[in-house]
């Protein structure tokens, strides 16, 4: 106990003072966070820019990691605003949930939010997990739904981020809900280019790729229909702390309302195909929608 603790405490105090010193017109700085996922970062950047235009001071803490890493930080009050997805967030807070459709998921999510946090309005834009196969594989085995996978007689290997192995959307969920057995290969690019390459190479047959990912269209992949409701509806939804006041919340709600599902795919495509920085993509979209 000791010098180190005291010095650290002093450091924290200084940092707190510094933060307080650079707050904006509305008093407190709003800390906006994002996942370690480019699509989520773009949405967070849109929130940040809109708040700045509204006169708020914003501290961007982007590319933090997965839900298991950042959610404790949000719950501890270190982050005030975060783009989230209704289904996975509900499952994180309430793993026993049976809700699958958008509105049911949303109303349960509103109930499940811990004290000090609230979910703002959900957006029509969705970005949800889906099982994806190549179109060649789909036509070879006549696949349109996930149930159809039962008819596949070759061994299946699923490729996804390693956390899928312990989450309900992974091989265990596929077995429990559909009775389909498959192997697992970790590819840590969040359904990105390496996952697509592995699908095309035939190293994996099944991948978890988000529905808003432009690579599904670009690579002629097929997203299998979730006929037994394994995946929860997953709409974009802002998670906010008490520091986000009503005026700020209204700003963010306008963004959510304006963002359509195809908007989200288009935003992602500008990042992956046009290689633009998140800030440019965000500014262009806000202007385009007349929100700034």
């Amino acid at each position: 106990m000791s010098h180190r603790t005291h010095r650290f405490a002093a450091l924290v105090a200084v940092a707190a003072l510094a933060l307080a010193g650079c707050s904006g017109a509305h008093g407190q700085t709003i800390v906006v966070g994002s996942q370690d996922y480019y699509s989520n970062e773009i949405v967070a950047e849109i929130y940040a820019q809109a708040l700045e235009k509204g006169g708020y001071a914003v501290d961007r803490q982007f590319r933090i990691g997965q839900r298991e890493v950042y959610l404790p930080e949000i719950e501890a009050g270190n982050i005030d605003l975060f783009p989230e997805y209704t289904g996975p967030l509900l499952q994180f807070w309430k793993s026993s949930t049976t809700a699958r459709l958008a509105d049911a998921v949303y109303s349960e999510l509103v109930q499940a939010a811990p004290a000090g946090l609230r979910v703002l309005d959900q957006s029509p834009a969705t970005d949800q997990d889906s099982y994806v196969v190549t179109s060649a594989f789909a036509s070879q085995w006549h696949l349109t739904t996930i149930s159809d996978l039962k008819g596949v007689t070759v061994p299946l290997v699923m490729g996804a981020n390693s956390e899928a192995q312990s989450r309900p959307n992974g091989p265990q969920g596929l077995l429990d809900t559909y009775g389909v057995t498959c192997g697992f290969t970790p590819i840590e690019d969040g359904g990105g280019p390496l996952t697509v390459k592995a699908l095309k190479d035939g190293t994996i047959q099944l991948a978890i790729i988000y529905t808003a990912d432009p690579s599904i269209m670009a690579n002629d992949l097929v997203s299998l229909e979730d006929d037994k409701g394994l995946f929860l509806a997953s709409h974009l939804v802002p998670l906010a702390s008490d520091k986000v006041d009503d005026k700020a919340a209204a700003l963010i709600n306008k963004i959510s309302a304006a963002m359509s599902p195809s908007d989200l795919v288009a935003l992602d495509a500008r990042s992956v195909t046009d290689q633009l920085p998140a800030a440019t993509i965000a500014t262009d979209w806000l202007k385009d929608k007349g929100l700034v």
Partner: protein, 219 residues
Amino acid sequence: MNLGETFTWLATHWAGPGGIGARLAQHLLLTLAVVAVAAIVALPLGVLIGHTHKGAAVVGASVGAARAIPTLGLLTLFGLALGIGLRAPVLALVILALPSLLAGAYAGVETVPPAVVEAARAVGLSETQIVWRVELPLGAPVIIGGLRAATLQVVSTATLAAYIADTGLGRFLFIGLKSRDYAQMVGGAILVIALALILEVTLAATQRLVSVHVTHPRQ
């Protein structure tokens, strides 16, 4: 986070294809294969440079720059080009191991006193014989030092292979890290550290044995 959970995890996850035993074996095999491939490339080259005294400046400069190359970057680049699986991590790790091996081989041969080499030449040994019978045995401790440094770097960094391949102890770290499973994360880390220390102690002992042999060849 408590250490008890970590020890419970360490004690109970040995079996099966994704268990500690299998991951440990994969990690060790990957390390040995990478060091072997890198040694096949680097040792002859380093010995050649040390023997001929040509190209030493180039080696010095490139070894310095190579130390700064982020392995994570090489791994992702090779991954994008070669796809998932072991090829990309093996290539990235071989490049990581090269500088230490090259520097060790070069320095080992270089440190053999010129008078000894001249004496060998005077008694009629060919250049090849000088390399095999004089320079390699005398330079062995330093060459093994390079091997030791390279092995240490590879065994630690091989955790990154799990970024794009279903292999090695890094899998426990990535799963643990991404799902906040501290017991698994810390348990995996302890296993990597333990494997690194075992290899380090083994190679250090080998190096000491060889040194004794070189300084007192008849004992």
